[in-house]
Every structure is written in C-alpha cells, then in structure tokens.
C-alpha cells in the first residue's frame, strides 16, 4: 500500500513537510493586504528618511550648506566621529545618563508600585499624585526645574541656605561636575511614574492565593516578594527596563531646555549632540553618521525588546 509505505518511509515523529514561503504568503495574502497600507506609509515616512540619512552620512556638507552640492567622502564622517574625543565624552555621558536614569526610575517605580498595590486610605489620590510628573509636559517641567535649580535664585539653593546646610546656593547646573547628575534627577522624577504604571499592571498578575499560601507557610515580606512576586514581575520588568533604556538613549527635551548641552558640553548626550551637529551647525553628513550609529544601537536594543515580548507569548502558548 503506497500510503502505508509513505508513512513508514517518513517514520514516526517526523513533521510533515512545510509549504514554501511564497506558498504560505499566498495563502495568507489577505492578511498581507490588510497591513499593506501601513507598510507603504512606513516605507515613505520611515524607510525613505532612513535611506536618506544613511546616504547623507557618506557625504560632506559644502561650506555653502547647499545639500545638492554635497560630496561623497566614504567613511570619513564615521572615522572622524569615532576618532573624536568628543564622541567618547558624549557617549560616556549618554551611558551615565541612561544607566542611572533607568536604574533609579525603575527602582523608584517598583517601590511606588508595591506601595500602591496595598490597600490604604487615599490610595487613589496618591496614585494620581504620583502620575503627575509623567503627564505634565517635559518642556514645562524642564523650565520649572531650571528655576528650582537656578544657581543664584533657585528655590532648592535658597532652602539649603535657610536651613543651614550650605552658606551659599549650591551650583547644580552651572557646574560641569554636577550638571549631568542634576539633570538625571529631573529625568528620574519625570519617568519613574511610567515604570510604576507598568509594574502596577504586572502586580495584578501575581496570584493572591500564592502570596497567602506563602504567608501561611511563614514567609516574611521580603521572602514573599523575592520568591512569589518578583518571578511574576520579571517579564514586565524586562520590557519596562528596555523601554526606559530606549527612552533614555533618545532623551532630548530635558537636557536641551535646561542646559542646551552645557556647561562646556557636560550635559550633551547623543540626541542633543546630533541635533546640534545637524540642525544648529548644519553639518548634515556628520549628524547623519551619528544618527546611523545610534540607529544601529537602537535596532540591537529593539531585537532584545521583541525577544522579551515574544518570549512572553511563547511561554503563554506553552511552546
């Protein structure tokens, strides 16, 4: 019997041959048609600018600033950037900014989420209050903080003098040693609410019965958190941290509004530096090369992000 032979030949446990890629695409052609408009729009508004940026990154902007006269210089922009001490200075500042902002925003967000997860009087009010930094405009917040930090007339400096902590107002943002950290504080204040919301959503998935069972078994608060709550939060934590990292790598408003990258370049991070090179110095080639480097880095982070998301899907699907 031919059919029996075929079964025998393939052997038990051997998966049936999958149809080819084009065959599968043809079968799912309706799905592709549904997403086609979005893909076309993306190609126009994202794909072309990316192509143009890459193209620009291999050219030199002429002194007349006329882009149609740009000249091909190969990898010269990349070499110039990667060998520039300024690039490494800005990269280090970007790393400090991103790592510290992410750690503290996540830590504070986790603490706030755990606190607000418990029942207490005024919980809704507190939740609303803690959301304020996230919902107000970053530009407005930056201006408010700029005045709070003001080296001559800032409220924080005046308070420090009044309560006797210092004799003179502290120079937070006009000092190359403290300015970046002062801005990180503002950034953490602005974005910890985001981590809080994400983690509060994650806390909803922790089974109450498990926590109660652990309590009955004599587990203390830390043990309940570490052995029951945290494992359930690991997925959402990974996503939150990745989103915070991407967000912080791409930060612009706070350093731009508060210090413009100064003093002496001490608060320049990648995006503000790219903006300065491309739009204020109109050096499109070098700005584009910077942007391409950042783009590659973001794509790598994007892969981790997608993996983190799909790992959750795979776990739920039991595969």
């Amino acid at each position: 019997m031919s059919s029996g032979q075929a079964i025998f030949t393939d052997g038990p446990g051997t998966a049936p041959r999958r149809p080819g890629l084009f065959s599968r695409m043809w079968k799912q052609r309706a799905d592709y048609l549904y997403v086609l408009p979005a893909i076309i729009v993306m190609l126009i508004v994202i794909g072309y600018p990316i192509y143009y940026t890459i193209d620009l990154s291999f050219s030199r902007t002429p002194t007349t600033l006329k882009l149609s006269d740009k000249t091909f210089v190969g990898l010269q922009n990349y070499v110039a950037i990667l060998t520039s001490p300024n690039f490494w200075k800005v990269t280090w500042q970007t790393l400090v900014w991103t790592v510290l902002s992410t750690i503290f925003a996540f830590g504070l967000g986790l603490g706030a989420a755990l606190s607000l997860h418990r029942e207490f009087a005024g919980r809704a009010f507190m939740r609303g209050l803690l959301l304020i930094p996230w919902v107000i405009s970053a530009v407005a917040a930056s201006y408010v903080w700029k005045w709070l930090y003001h080296s001559d007339f800032g409220a924080i400096g005046a308070l420090m003098v009044q309560i006797g902590v210092t004799d003179e107002p502290i120079n937070f943002i006009d000092n190359t040693r403290t300015s970046l950290y002062a801005l990180i504080v503002v950034n953490v204040w602005k974005e910890f609410s985001f981590a809080m919301i994400m983690l509060m959503a994650g806390l909803q998935t922790v089974p109450e019965s498990l926590l109660r069972a652990a309590q009955v078994d004599g587990a203390n608060a830390w043990q309940r958190f570490w052995h029951v709550t945290w494992p359930h939060l690991s997925g959402v934590s990974m996503v939150t941290i990745l989103l915070l990292v991407v967000q912080n790598f791409n930060s612009f408003i706070i350093p731009f509004v508060m210090t413009g990258g100064g003093p002496a370049g001490s608060t320049h991070i990648w995006i503000t530096h790219i903006y300065e090179i491309a739009f204020q110095r109109q050096n499109w080639g070098a700005g584009a090369a910077y942007a391409v480097i950042l783009f590659i880095l973001m794509m790598i982070l994007g892969i981790f992000y997608v993996r983190a998301l799909t790992r959750g899907d795979a776990t739920r699907a039991g595969t």
């Binding site: 002429p62 002194t63 007349t64 010269q76 001559d152 107002p169 943002i173 990258g261």
Partner: protein, 502 residues
C-alpha cells in the same frame, strides 16, 4: 591617479575655489561698503551721529512715498505679489498692529490693482518654513528675513540679485554695514528694512550705593570688570549681567562687542575690509575679552553664577528686582521693565518701580581698539521664480511692494517699537521725531548704530556665533580650558569649518 587621490585633489581644488570665492566676495563687499563712507554721500551725515544729531535731523524732511514708488512702478499697475514676514503678534504693542494694518491699507491705496497674498509667520518658524517651501517650489515671491538669514539662501542660489537702485533708491540711502549683510559673492541679494543696535543699561541707585557715580556708566570694558567687582563686594549682588549660554543667540550678541572692543573677532569682520579668511578667535584681543569675563565670573564671582545657563530673559528678573546692576540691552528693554514693574505687587512693586526710576541707558563701553555693538535688523529678498508657487515672479508687483516697504516713511513706521528705519531717510521724517519723543532712550541706542559690526557674512556664521563662541566662553568659565587653550581650540574649529572640515 587613484580614486582617493582624485577625491583629495578635487576636495582641495574645491576648498581653493571656495576660499577664492569668499575672498572675492569679501573684497567686493568691502570695497562696496568702504566706498560708501568715502566716495558716496550718505543721506545723513554719519560722522556726526550722536543722540543730539539724531534729534536734530528728525522731522526735517517730508517724503512722498506714493509718488516715489509710482516712478518705479506705475500706480495703476495690475499684478500679484506673495510675501512672508514676521509681522506683529499678540504680545506686540497695539501700535505695531496699527502700523502694520496701515501699511497694507496704504499699499492698497497706492497700488489698487496689485493683489497681495501675505503671511505673517513667527520669528522661530519662518526660516524652517521657508526652507521647506523652497524644497517644494512653493515659496513666496518676497520674504523678509533677519539680518543674516538671507546669506544662507543666497549661497544656495535661491534668491534673485536685488539692490536699492532696483526699487528707486541709492546705496547711500542705507547703512553700509546693513548692505554688507545682504552681499554674497560680491552681489547684493536684498535691501535692509530696519536696523538696530543695543545699548548699555545700569541701575543708578545700585551705582550710588556701591560708591560709584550714579550718572556715569563704565567707559571701558576694564571699567565694567572693576565696577562689577565693586558692586558685588560692597552690596553682595551681581554687577554685570553676563550671558554665556550655549546655542542661544543672546550670547554672541552680548559677547562679540567685548571681543571687538579689545581688538579681536571671530574672523576679521570688525576690520575695514574683511576677507573672512582666517579665524581671529585666538588673537590677543579675543583673549583679552575672555580674560575679562574670566575675571568677573571666576576670579571675582561678580556676575550671576547662572550665566552659563542664562539667556537675556533670565537677567530681566534680577535686574527689575534690584539684584543686578548693569547689562547690554535692546532698545525695547525699558518697555519690558515697565511692563514687569506694572505686574509686580506689594513690596516687589516698590522695588520694581524704584528700579525703573533709576534705570539709565548709555553707550556700550569701548575697549582699547574700538566701541562696538552687533549690527542687527532685517532685510527683504526676492525669491527666484523656479522656487515660487506657480513658477512666476511678478517683477513689477514685487518692486512696488519693496519700494513701499523700504521707503523712508514705512521703514520708520514698521520699525516703530524696537528698531530703526533701514532707509536712512527715515531718520529725517516726522515719524522718527514722534518716536524719539515717545520712546525713552531711543536716541541713545540709535546713536550706537555707527559702532555696529555685522556678524561675518557667511552661511556658517550661525555655527560660529551660536556654537563655537559660546563653547569657547564656557570652556574658560568652567575651568575646562585656560584662556589660551579655549581661544586656540575655537580658532581651530573656525578654520576647520571654513576649509570644509567636519
């Protein structure tokens, strides 16, 4: 020849051509500009320029705008013109709105058959919107841009050559410095509409309290350093309102006058015949200016600590609060202080009113080389037809509009609040007299005009002024570099820029 050698050779040739182009442009421009003062008779006598002279010529002549422009373009001409400019907005005084409306009414009356398509766009949006419209061939026929805005577009080939003679005036009717600012590659690409310079303001009461002559401003920049220290040491407040923020237009407008006064420059823009060939930021003059601000900020601590993040706007509050003694200020600063005082309440109101009462305007101090101030203002330009919406420029209608706008009458009326007429004839009008009678200290700030030096007329001048110069200041003030190191670093950046480096 290998490809890379060919590229290097081509780049070098291009740099030489660029350098040659700039040199020719600068020499022609300088010759043109220099020629004004020597060979051509100005509409007014610039050698006598002073507050008294300005008052003496105001209201001495009348002008027939419709008649003058009618000789350039017949008043019955039928056509169409599109125009973009930064007109008055909500925050501007009523009179600015009234004058703007009056102009369009007068234009309609003078040229009833010319249809106008006018857009008033905010200062911060105008350049970006114009750049975008040029890429889409949807630009207006005529545009008014801030003083150095036109150079970029002239260099890119978007503008038509335009000189005062094209609309019935002479080059002698405009400030030489203003005409220099619209010259690219030896060709004029615009006509000045308005020009202004800043002055020096101080609080006479603070001067008196610190033991200084309340009615006598510092005569030199060395005096500014000394006065600032004396005020800070005696009263514990800031003396001079230094501004050193990066990427802020206020910074070069307030520091370049110091550099020029000490004999330095970004390039050689302060010289009689600038060539813009070599950076001057490492000159002794520039270093002396850097040393002066270092002495005030680091050695004496006599200026606001927040200077590194301050723009001029942030100096207004301490000035009106009696916590800052002196600063470089725009002609409209007095009106701003009046406005701030009117909004103050309680004890603050008393302080603010006293500050306004004690506010004085004077000339910006001089240095060993000269007295200097940045020459500011706006120019009007004509866009090439291929970049204009519809692909056509109605030359006659365009000329009619520009003739009216740059006339002695309208260049005075349209610059009523914060500027001065681009057309020198405007200083002789009755409207100038009215302005002098109603706007306090206008004669003082206006008398700074002959000391005005325009920023280098180069497409990349904004990078030098808004990035390199503030960086140089911050490197010194934060101790990141010494004065010498910061000056050499900045000069190297300017030289690299002019040779096409990244």
């Amino acid at each position: 020849m290998t490809t890379s050698r060919y590229r290097e050779s081509a780049l070098a040739a291009m740099r030489r051509r660029t350098l040659l182009k700039y040199s020719v442009a600068a020499i022609v421009a300088a010759g043109w500009a220099g020629g004004f003062t020597s060979a051509m008779a100005q509409s007014v006598d610039l050698s006598k320029w002073s507050p008294e002279y300005i008052r003496s010529i105001a209201g001495t002549e009348t002008f027939d705008t419709a008649g003058t422009c009618g000789k350039v373009v017949p008043n019955d001409y039928a056509g169409k013109v599109s125009y973009w400019y930064t007109g008055p907005f909500e925050a501007d005084p009523v009179i600015a709105h009234e004058q703007d409306a009056a102009f369009w009414e007068a234009f309609k009356k003078t040229y009833p058959n010319i249809e106008t398509d006018v857009q008033s766009i905010t200062y911060n949006e105008l350049l970006d919107k114009f750049r975008t419209s040029l890429l889409g061939n949807a630009a207006p026929m005529v545009i008014r841009l801030q003083i150095l805005g036109g150079v970029e577009f002239a260099a890119k080939g978007y503008l038509e050559p335009l000189k005062p003679e094209d609309v019935g005036y002479t080059t002698a009717d405009f400030w030489p410095g203003a005409l220099k600012s619209v010259t690219w590659d030896g060709v004029g690409y615009g006509i000045p509409t308005n020009n202004e310079t800043m002055g020096f303001i101080w609080n006479a009461k603070i001067f008196a309290d610190a033991g200084l002559d309340p009615e006598k401003p510092p005569a030199t920049w060395d005096d500014v350093v000394a006065y600032s220290k004396q005020i800070h040491d005696k009263l514990g407040i800031s003396g001079y309102g230094l501004v050193a923020k990066q990427n802020a237009g206020n910074t070069p407008f307030r520091f370049m006058p110091t550099i020029w006064a000490y004999g330095g420059g970004a390039l050689d823009e302060a010289s009689e015949n600038p060539t813009y060939e070599k950076a001057q930021l490492n000159s002794e003059g520039t270093k002396a200016a850097l040393q002066a601000i270092y002495d005030m900020y680091v050695r004496d601590g006599s200026v606001p600590t927040s200077a590194l993040t301050n723009t001029q706007a942030e100096n207004q509050a301490p000035f009106i609060g009696g916590q800052l003694a002196m600063m470089i200020a725009h002609p409209a600063e007095y009106a701003r202080m009046l406005d701030l005082a009117s909004k103050a309440t309680g004890a603050d109101k008393e302080v603010a009113d006293a500050v306004v009462e004690n506010m004085r305007y004077g000339l910006i101090p001089e240095g060993p080389a000269r007295r200097a101030v940045v020459f500011g203002g706006s120019n009007i330009h004509v866009v090439k037809a291929e970049y204009v919406e519809g692909g056509v420029v109605d030359e006659q209608a365009v000329k009619a509009l520009i003739c009216m706008w740059t006339s002695p009458e309208w260049s005075t009326k349209l610059a009523w609040v914060g500027s001065n007429p681009g057309n020198l004839g405007g200083f002789k009008t009755e409207w100038m007299k009215e302005r002098l009678d109603t706007i306090k200290f206008l004669d003082v700030t206006t008398s700074m005009l002959p000391s005005g030096i325009p920023f280098p007329v180069l497409p990349y001048a904004p990078e030098i002024m808004n990035i390199i110069v503030p960086d140089m200041m911050q490197n010194v003030l934060t101790g990141t570099m010494t004065v010498d190191e910061a000056a050499e670093d900045a000069a190297a950046k300017v030289d690299a820029l002019s040779s096409g480096g990244i």
